[in-house]
Symmetry: C2
Subunit: 351 residues, 2 copies
């Protein structure tokens, strides 16, 4: 029998709604902070034993139904030779962001995945330590999201440079996106070879594209990635944050599931995607700061929005924040397990 | 005959598509920066002659079809006694953000509008100096957006405190929103008495609410504001940024027009709002950094999305950025005037 997460992603019946939490291996956990005190974020990402240890923490402590690899979407740009600087209070910054077409020519897209051995080692260790308890999700950033970061050079409220690039240098942009697509596919395939049992692709900055731009600069590459992973037979989840306008197209990419952000009505998402995909989400991460009673009510609200049907994976509608109260995170997992059973009552099949 | 902007907002025929630009009285204009070198932003907002001068600059220099009062949405919280500090690089910060219910009880909602005389004086001066060339738009922040700022204390990527308040203190939140609604209505009425000929309400942080929260904590107050302004007979524009999910409800608030953000497909917005309102927007502000040719094509794209119908006001889908190239802003205004004529060919009325 497959684990509940995999069944739900394939829209098969499960006795309850499985849950995992975006950024569940993160700073809100005291055990994570303890390791972070001794090592830099960068060291944690590239040291297989450390990455494995923090990946397993939420599985051991919270009872979530999946592990998700502790890593960072920026490992691909780094493997492409872009040097990251960690500036306190500013997050990671690329020393030389991409601003000229020639810079794209120099990027070794075909070799990037080979340089990420520590990630695959972490995947192997995690898989072995999990011992089949819950499945392991691998991940990568989507081409547009990585390109946006590489051009902007850092996280941004406006992504002014990356977005201007779409207007001023569309041909170079497509070359960059195509190269990244190639690197991402190779990287995800290696994660699966090492033991990842499901994959999530984070298009975190999809909402920084107009609907027309999303269709031109993101969607085609997401489609190619999904197609290039098809033969691996692992469920693929797409998270195009802020692109609710494209849910119909996203549900036709061949992906098994779509992760829905908290700004989108889950019931509406289910209607427009017409049962073609499983849906993941979408509790507002801020609901974790509410009282237990209110949190419980909000969990019920999400379960009810999805309703009586297969294909729901519970999650937050965005990553958990660093100061989320751990006892409420634990309560969330329990609430979902307890409260979801009634949405999974299966009728006996009668002749 | 009414000015083109007013006619378009009322969905009456015009010979071309009128245009104004959100934050058109702003830092991208050298003449604005010259004044800003001598005075603080705060002094400019509260000195009627200065506010009037920068309000008129884009009208005189760009040929836009409306003036919009140079002011700030935070004047209402300030009039409520909340002290703003201007921290370099951080934007305005409230010295004592709202975190406890008692703080809401102390706010003098009924008197706030009386303290904003300099704004009404600016409106009078602008109206008189415009001499009927183009109409003057007044504005205010929406209740939720002001509340979010007052609770958070500053602009934010997450609005974690303001958003947690929705879960932990919904009753206090409604009290705050109700008080703000009262203050906003009084403030906007005074702007109209002083000479404002149209009004825009900025719900800039609407996208920080779940669809359900938007319906509970923003929409009812927007509805009340619109209703309370109805007798003034000036067109009211709502800009609920990031709330495309609520366009149908917004089109039924009684507002004359909805401003559409650049992340929303204008053609789709027109379809779902079914001709009940005029639409304003929605060129991506970043398109101003493109070449003139590309900018022209993007203008055509927006005009074409709206198509052959009355009720379109051209604008950006968000405020203009401080480093937008002025020559392209001028070109934008000309392109809209030239290219829009063909969408306004009126059929002779035959018996």
């Amino acid at each position: 029998m497959q684990p509940a997460l995999i069944q739900a992603l394939r829209r098969q019946p499960t006795g309850f709604t499985p849950i995992w939490i975006m950024r569940q291996a993160g700073r809100y956990l005291p055990s994570y902070r303890k390791i972070r005190e001794q090592y830099s974020f960068h060291e944690m990402v590239y040291t297989p034993e450390l990455a494995a240890e923090v990946t397993l923490q939420p599985v051991n402590q919270l009872g979530v139904d999946a592990a998700i690899l502790f890593s960072d979407i920026l490992v691909i740009p780094e493997a492409l030779g872009m040097r990251l600087e960690f500036v306190e209070g500013r997050g990671p910054v690329f020393a030389r962001p991409i601003r000229r077409p020639e810079q794209v020519d120099d990027l070794p897209f075909a070799e990037a995945a080979d340089l990420l051995q520590p990630v695959y080692e972490a995947v192997s260790i995690i898989r072995s330590e999990l011992g089949g308890r819950v499945p392991l999700i691998g991940f990568a950033g989507a081409p547009w999201t990585l390109a946006a970061y590489m051009i902007e050079g850092q996280g941004s409220k406006e992504f002014r440079h990356a977005r201007a690039f779409l207007y001023t240098s569309p041909v170079t942009m497509h070359r960059l996106l195509q190269g990244l697509t190639e690197a991402i596919v190779a990287y995800l395939r290696r994660q699966v070879e090492a033991g990842a049992q499901a994959l999530q692709i984070f298009d975190s900055w999809a909402g920084y594209l107009t609907p027309e731009q999303f269709r031109a600069f993101s969607l085609p590459y997401l489609r190619r990635i999904v197609a290039a992973l098809q033969d691996l037979d692992v469920p693929v989840i797409l998270f195009a944050r802020g692109a609710a306008h494209a849910l119909v197209e996203l549900s036709r990419t061949g992906a098994d599931a779509l992760s829905i952000d908290w700004q989108t009505d889950l019931q509406w998402a289910k209607e427009v995607t017409g049962g073609r995909v499983a849906l993941q989400g979408n509790l507002d991460p801020i609901a974790l700061y509410a009282s237990r009673d209110v949190l419980q009510r909000e969990v019920e609200q999400v379960l009810k929005s999805y309703g009586f049907a297969t294909g729901h994976v519970f999650n937050l509608g965005h990553g958990i924040l660093p100061d989320a109260p751990v006892d409420h995170v634990k309560a969330l997992v329990d609430f979902v397990h307890e409260q979801s059973a009634k949405y999974h009552i299966t009728e006996p099949v009668t002749a």
